[in-house]
Symmetry: C4
Subunit: 190 residues, 4 copies
């Protein structure tokens, strides 16, 4: 999450549902830590900022995002297993919850939503370049799927980021169900 | 939700789980806003009343409903994908949770519950006429499904509306499961 | 739920998650209401005791149960659709959570748990006789499934009733999954 | 859970979500009860320590674990039904949440995670020897699956144990979904 020039990043390898404000790192626009988590003083070994930090900064620097999330959602992972290099879905109302990042307009019901899928790597930081490449190639997207891993979603505020993350997850789940029933996820516009 | 002649409508494009009483619009019986959300004063740009407002008013004016809900439930959407112009189910106890809007009696276990499915449009307000048409054609129903979108459910009070919404959703989910196992959703009465 | 000779029964047609102690009926051992819900005074029309009351009393009178529950669980309903006149499962650890009502001993892992399935009727009270018949025919069971409706589960205390209800529901769900994957739900003992 | 030489064990046959600190047994390193649950004084019949106690002690004595959990998770049970003597999965990011118990390093994305599956017995304590045998044969694992029963997961602290338990469960669920869609759970490393 970004507030002005300050970026708040969660520590790595902790139970995310237990994070308190005191557990967050503050970084500047150049990805340098300017303030370590105050709660760290009580720990045996220091926190490490999230492995995803350079990927979050892709969203901040390339798209001016105000927030970026990463999930390992089973729906996202299964979608990357059932689709090739792109996740594609059309004619589902929830598509309208996703803004076209290029035009800043909401998608229409009969648009085809396309989300790029990049291959996973052994180290999360090694995804930085391929995520950036996908973001350049797909200027309309607010999400990059990572094969057998999960997805990154960003938005201009944490509220819009969270709302779009929920819409994407709903669409991934719906597409899996559609495939299970043999229904194509993209239909020609009528 | 309708209290006397006042209709309370949620704002559009917000996180519904965070809505407070101060965030609601009040409209009169002619769908004119008589009171804007007091909390709006704190916002950069004003709230907009829910896109569904004219659809909610179909339920208020045509059926004298006390409440109307709209959901994007995955069960509802999947049901519209697996069924044609009507969702039909019989011989499931939960059917008895749905009142026949014409006779005002609860459905019987061996009745066939029929819910009309209308096609979706790019703009929610453009559903107003086809929803009204379906309501005229299906006087027994308290629900209209919208293809690849969700459903509208109404009832004489918010309690009955919510209870029926839960029953419909249960029945949509059950029908999907039945189809997955190759079981017909309507069986001839014994 | 039964405490001494008093039976506490929920009202019919209400949102079960909102029930307060003041909303309960108290009945005597002869199924006569001895105390109406105090909260009823605030209502326009009086509460009606649960439609299931005579079915609950089957468990109290025939089995000396301390509590009896009724659910419309999707797992229970789907199990009645996929099985014939008996639900049967063996070799699942959770079976040990169910007591044999005849011997009062827990089932063994390699026992076959059998739950009778009775046909549904248009009126819940018309199930009373067939539930009683199934209880006589299956003295080991603490549960009767009702086709396309749900199940009744009882136990010597509300704690044991609730725990067994959870075990039964887990087993119904597991059996549905096993059938979905083409795995038989009963295997010959090794 | 182990704190110093004291092991805290839950009572058997109770509703786990209602356990209070006063309900726990304290055992010494030799599996002798040194302190019975104080809350027991209020009960008609004494608590019994969890049936799993000797299995938990396998983790404490053979692996120096700080905590050990047992679940009957439907995902774990279904995985044991769909796999033979080993659960195997590779190329899913969540594998990195599981530490290799031999090297103390996290697994890599392209490692194959292997979890032994032992056969169930009528009495839980009879699993003690076969669980120990599997732990010797699979020094990398932090989990033993028990056919049609569930799994045991341990870790150096309760935090790591819980986190790994969640990762294993996610992976069991993902594997079931992959099999449902006909996707192999292990892919050759690229």
């Amino acid at each position: 999450m970004k507030v002005g020039d300050e970026v708040f990043v969660a520590p790595s390898g902790v139970q995310k549902e237990r994070i308190q404000p005191d557990d967050l790192f503050i970084l500047d626009a150049k990805m340098q830590v300017t303030c370590r988590p105050p709660s760290e003083a009580k720990l045996d070994k220091p926190f490490k900022e999230s492995e995803c930090t350079p990927l979050f900064f892709n969203a901040f620097s390339m798209r001016g995002a105000g927030a970026c999330m990463h999930t390992h959602s089973p729906n996202a992972v299964m979608a990357t297993i059932l689709f090739g290099d792109e996740f594609r879905i059309s004619h589902i109302e929830m598509i309208k919850g996703i803004v076209d990042a290029e035009t800043k307009q909401a998608h229409m019901f009969n648009d085809t939503l396309v989300v790029p899928i990049i291959d996973n790597t052994n180290f999360e930081r090694d995804l930085t370049a391929s995520m950036a490449e996908a973001m350049l190639k797909y200027p309309k997207t607010n999400c990059v799927l990572v094969r057998r891993h999960g997805c990154y979603v960003w938005g201009e505020s944490w509220q819009k980021c969270k709302a779009m993350c929920e819409c994407y997850d709903y669409l991934f789940g719906m597409a899996i169900e559609m495939k299970r029933h043999g229904v194509p996820t993209v239909t020609p516009s009528s």
